[in-house]
């Protein structure tokens, strides 16, 4: 099973690299990402880049946009390029194909995020360090790694569900983007819509929660959502339906 998942990941990465071989084809996007999150923002923030818990929010948010484009292509792309039926006629199990597609998208989103995190640390140490090595506090560092992984999985799960049904890659990408936007803006606007008194009370509760507790709570919720989305995608993955759609 793991070997089969790895085989799909290998193929997805090969395609990803082949698709982004041109400057405009994807390398530009990666360079912009690395430039903004690995150099520009750390340069602007200075020491606060590693000291402030706001990094948790940054790195939980960033993979959403990185995974989005890759996962939208997963099944819709195979269908559009007429390679899906041959893949389904192979010996690979449903679960191996599904997990492979998701793992490829997560490895891309999470991997690039980790590159951004490391580059950001280098930037901060080069420009703002006073002789001591600047690192994230262990709780925040682990939280960043964990939350960015879980949000990558979240978009991969939602995206694969959408891509399984979408007629085209464009349709899948648009729907996944809308889902990501909703995921971001519904909580923000939802909170603002609450009565002032309730918001103050919520803020007080939030202030009272330690960073570690918040990370654990968010991780727990995200993990549950990730599992639920994967199970939903598994149940939707039916060879006959995919071939006839």
């Amino acid at each position: 099973m793991l070997a089969d998942v790895w085989t799909i990941v290998w193929k997805e990465w090969k395609e990803l690299l082949a698709a982004s071989s041109g400057f405009r084809g994807g390398r530009l996007g990666v360079l912009i990402f690395v430039g903004v999150f690995g150099v520009f923002l750390p340069l602007q923030s200075g020491r606060a880049w590693v000291d402030s818990p706001i990094g948790l929010l940054y790195w939980a948010w960033v993979p959403l946009f990185l995974v989005n484009s890759v996962i939208a292509d997963s099944f819709a792309g195979e269908r559009e390029r007429r390679t899906l039926e041959t893949l389904l006629a192979s010996r690979l199990s449903d679960r191996a194909i599904l997990l492979g597609k998701m793992a490829a998208a997560v490895s891309y989103g999470w991997g690039l995020s980790l590159v951004g995190i490391v580059l950001g640390l280098i930037t901060v140490n080069v420009t703002s360090a006073d002789g001591t090595l600047l690192l994230y506090p262990p709780g925040i560092g682990l939280g960043i790694a964990l939350l960015s992984l879980l949000t990558s999985c979240l978009v991969a799960g939602a995206g694969v569900l959408i891509s399984l049904r979408a007629a085209t890659v464009r349709q899948a990408a648009q729907t996944v983007s809308i889902a990501v936007m909703l995921l971001l803006f519904v909580p923000i606007f939802g909170l603002q819509a609450l009565p002032l008194e309730l918001r103050i009370n919520l803020a007080k509760i939030a202030m009272g929660i330690e960073t570690t507790q918040a990370v654990l709570a968010a991780s727990g919720i995200l993990a549950v959502l990730d599992v639920a989305l994967f199970l939903a995608a598994s149940s939707r993955f039916q060879r006959a339906k995919l071939i006839l759609s």
Partner: protein, 311 residues
Amino acid sequence: MTTLAVHTENLSRHFGSVTAVDDMSLEVPRGIVFGFLGPNGAGKTTTIRLLLGLLEPTSGKAEVLGYDALRQASDVRLRSGALLEHNGLYERLTAEDNLDFYGRVWRMSSSTRRERIRQLLTHLELWERRKEAVGTWSRGMKQKLAVARALLHRPQVVFLDEPTAGLDPVAAAALRDDLAGLVTREGVTVFLTTHNLAEAERLCSQVGVIRQGKLLAVGHPDELRARSGSPRAEIVGRGFGERVLEMLRTRPEVASAEVQNGRLVIDLRGDVEVAPLVSLIVGAGGQVEEVRKGKASLEEAFLTLMGTEEE
């Protein structure tokens, strides 16, 4: 071990009110090239999908190499290769990467994979271009590569869905030659769908004819030709006017006589001698250059079957 590569019993598949495969019972022995003939929309592709376990039958059952295509679909797919309706190649990847991926899918070791890819691509004269992205290739080259992919893991049975469809005659002939060579070398059972009857006649030792989901006939191409009617004589020459035709039509051994593309075609009643008829033609003013006597072509047999069914 079963001696059958494919076995179906009353296999049916409906899509709403449309019957794609209708009560099909078929047996294909191992080690042969089986041609599945039928016009577009006859149910050929659906049959392959049912055999590979990609679709569930509405009723009946299908077995491939003794494995139930529905309940043991993974066992069927493990031992099968397929070139389906579309070539299924990843156009952004190189030819080598396409084969390497499917070699990994079939868990071939790295060294076996390399050796097999070299062997197949060399045989198909694609080795020199293995590093090129497949998207830049001609359709004929892509089809060849897709055939190589289907045979890569040395499957026991290969399903080829119209492998020469859309190719120009030269490319189609080249692919047929390659296919014939590979099949002979590999000793694999081939289940080939086509509506190219010349292709079937050339490659297949057994054919089945399907129309509107119904299997109309199965057998060796010679058997099908024999079934389509009695022998015929084809005469090349000049002067086959109405007088000659009328005279021939009065003969008891002649079922019909007509001029087709400048040739005189005489359908005979039974295995009769042609020489007396040639004498009569010459006597009536016809000039005979060449006389051929034989059975109807597979194409004629096919058209006869289609016509019979329509009636």
